[in-house]
Symmetry: D3
């Protein structure tokens, strides 16, 4: 995704949040952050401001929700995996990169648990990957880089599984609108893009 670099790690805990406790099911959650100078002009550090911004909260909830759609939580058992996605360098599409990279971290962590015999049935149903598409200069474009992203009137994030099932679709227009026809074009592009990403995920896991 252009020059975007996101460090993704998965950390295991043998305990789950209160609302899951006793259900026999596991939980996958995510946290997201950007280094202050991951962008071309320095952003204020969220830890120093004393809270995570609205955009950060929105993105990390999205990452967690997306990854859980690829997980059989019964097969995972009562344990929690926290996926941290930290943006080292940002060039558009950081949330999609976080989901796609976060899944690789999750896959590696689960492989380790299975090798150790802690989990018997693979709890990962299929890959989870995400792409951004947008209408830029009247054209549907896959994987917007930062200059495109900031000018695109319409911007979509599409999260799919490796088996082609849809997990989440978000299309939104800042100061603009779009038609159903454009929606279909973006959706087509996204499906194509996810195929490539899933191939890259499989290569990375190997």
């Amino acid at each position: 995704m252009g020059d975007t670099h996101v460090l993704c790690t998965a950390s295991l805990e043998e305990r789950v949040p209160p609302f899951v406790k006793g259900s026999g099911q596991g939980w996958v959650t995510a946290e997201y952050g950007m280094l202050p100078r991951s962008t071309s002009s320095r952003m204020r550090r969220e830890a120093a401001m004393g809270k995570q911004g609205g955009r950060t909260v929105e993105i990390q909830r999205l990452i967690g929700r997306a990854l859980r759609a690829g997980v059989d939580r019964n097969a995972l058992g009562e344990r929690q995996i926290t996926v941290d996605c930290d943006v080292i360098q940002a060039d558009g599409g950081t949330r999609c990169a976080s989901i796609t990279g976060g899944w690789v971290a999750l896959r590696l962590a689960v492989n380790k648990l299975m090798k150790a015999g802690d989990i018997v049935t693979d709890p990962l149903i299929s890959e989870v990957a995400a792409v951004s598409c947008g209408i830029y200069a009247g054209q549907a474009v896959l994987d917007l880089d930062y200059p495109e992203d900031s000018e695109a009137g319409v911007d979509g994030n599409f999260i799919l599984r490796g088996d082609n099932a849809l997990i989440e679709v978000q299309m939104s227009a800042e100061g603009s609108v779009f038609s159903r026809n454009q929606m279909t074009q973006l959706m087509d592009l996204a499906e194509k893009g996810v195929v490539e990403l899933v191939a890259a995920q499989r290569a990375a896991v190997k």
Copy 2:
């Protein structure tokens, strides 16, 4: 939207946020809250917890973005309108009710400004309205009430303008997935629902 009651107000300020200052354009923003006992079991009060939760932040950003898509910010001029949406009673669909009701408050506030001669050209392009749809018990259902909403595996929010243009589409599956075919069904339902809402908005403004 079932038994959901949301109080929507619009407040005018003759100043704009720093990132708009000097642009000649106006700004529309929104805040969202739920009374602790708007739900059947009491929620903790956000003011007492010392911060707005992730869900609240996400929703109020969505409301603001949606309303701005119906506004010609040049025609509005350098002033800000804050739309407050406070949920008195919640029965599913509070974010859609907030957008739809928030637009009525915005329309009334702008009418007052135009009557007073402070604005000459109407800055409101077309109504903004939102519906939720979901897949419940295998069926595409319009305007989920709370019990349906909590069991629906797939849940969508569709924000449209009165001229049928799309502003925002969010479809997401918690612990589930969906197909492109289902996406089309939900989209069809949403378009039908918005027609009814726009009629109700026009009646309310009169």
Copy 3:
């Protein structure tokens, strides 16, 4: 109380705060809030500011203390009732309206518990009601509305029980002083006002 509207609800929990635990006694507490546009010019939302203001904290402590004076905490048993008072529209006297309305919510909640057989002896000793009085334009006035309230040099809140016992008396002068004679006049007015309020509470409960 003029055009003041306060939504009062009572919520039951089968647990008490740590300092009451094991005493066999119950607890009644209150929370207070104002919607941002309950006043004629918009106030900032406390949840967005990240804390409850000093005035809010003072008022909700007062409401809780007042209501507890009408409760036999042994008869209530180890359970907690939280009374939420949310001001929808403010026109002076919101703290008195909250106490008086909060008692109605408390009465209804306790009636439900007694009907269900969860409580045998009625824990509510007598009604709790509150009025504001002040010296306005040299005259002692009952139930100040907002314009009177903001100009009154001396302002009192009187909380009484339906059996005429005094619970709390607060008389204060912002930028002014008062005499013992004026204090007596206000006290007389307050006693008269509370009689009317208690009648209204009884009617509401029926």
Copy 4:
């Protein structure tokens, strides 16, 4: 006031809060704190908890309001005096000790300003002093010490000026009620007590 020790200081600033700016009037405000070990068992430090508790906020608002009632804000001119009241050792009546001692600090600060010629007309109208009284073991008692205070069902704070005018009266019953007759007894006691305190203030200033 028993073994209560409160350090009171007055600090001058040549600027006023925004809501006073341009009015030609001054402002007097107060802050209150307790050292963690001013009480016999250690309290948590408010700075470490990240906020001032409800009781602290209530008390410092009371101190400020009380002191302002003794000040001609026009004569003070556009400057602010902040009175800090820090409890070194607490044995009941810390809020009354803070007001009474705070007035001495305020008097000394104003004397200095007048000596330097910065203020011509004395802005202090009369002393401000406060006592607590309560009903303890059925008896009206002046200046409750800590053991009395914690058992007194009815507890009052009375703030008066040296010219006998009333500034603020607060009587409240935690888990109890009181009669108008008791209210009169407490008021009589308070007037007597304040006479002694004003004499002590005058001696301290000399």
Copy 5:
């Protein structure tokens, strides 16, 4: 230490922080604060700002670490002593005064525990005392007062035990540097200063 006044108290709790629990060892921790007007111009109150500043946090960690170096935590047993150091008046060297005075409070608290038979073996190994030294006007100076401290380019804090062992050495240059030779001079001065302080501590305990 000049006109510096620090109130030091030690408070005992029969519980330890989680990371010590079950180890059989005790814990000594410290908290530090300055009254707003302990300095010649008023500082903002940390409780009102909603957090402890970086300097406060640094100092209280230092005090705790220093005192623990004089304690045999096995002999103390699983209990925690919290030393509060509150600066009433500041004239340079408040952190050193806090350590030196804090040790006296700790010694008195431990003596009481031993007298009561709760501790058998004395857990205090040797006194802990601290001095500041600096290079002021080219000269190595012991115990800088405030005017010296603010102009000294090089400033050191030396924490030693009564048996002459070193606990902590901090030498730092704000906008300046120093040589090893100067380091040696400061160290010599510090050792001399601590001898005097330990004598004063012993006198205070008696």
Copy 6:
């Protein structure tokens, strides 16, 4: 420094903090952070906790102070450089790595300013570098790795300039003490280590 990886960046602003404004001098400040999984067991994210911990605050103040000692603030002119040090992987010595790497980022930023002609005289006096040393298993050891660091009773950080001048010396013993002789040994080791680091900095800048 072992397997420690710290990302260091320098960001320029053409404005200075209030306490420097109008002095004609520049300012260098630093911020420090650790990614949650930079350590072998995951730490909580500071942005999510709502504040920077005491250790973080202490370290970033140290980095800023250290770097300023290598800067001629008059030659820099009224501009601020913020050095961000973010730990990607931690294996002991992160504060020393941050200072040493931070200086390289500062050097590169200043070179760019000089090349652009914004600064004429080089404001960097000499390199700033830092090493940690400790007493481990009775031996003075340079550059402790994480296992050594956690067991070392005595631990020192030494910050020097390329011209051998001392900037800051911190030696501390957690649960232990040290002698002047050991202090000298550590100091000798540190001087040797800094020579190597300065060579590495010069190579990196080239």
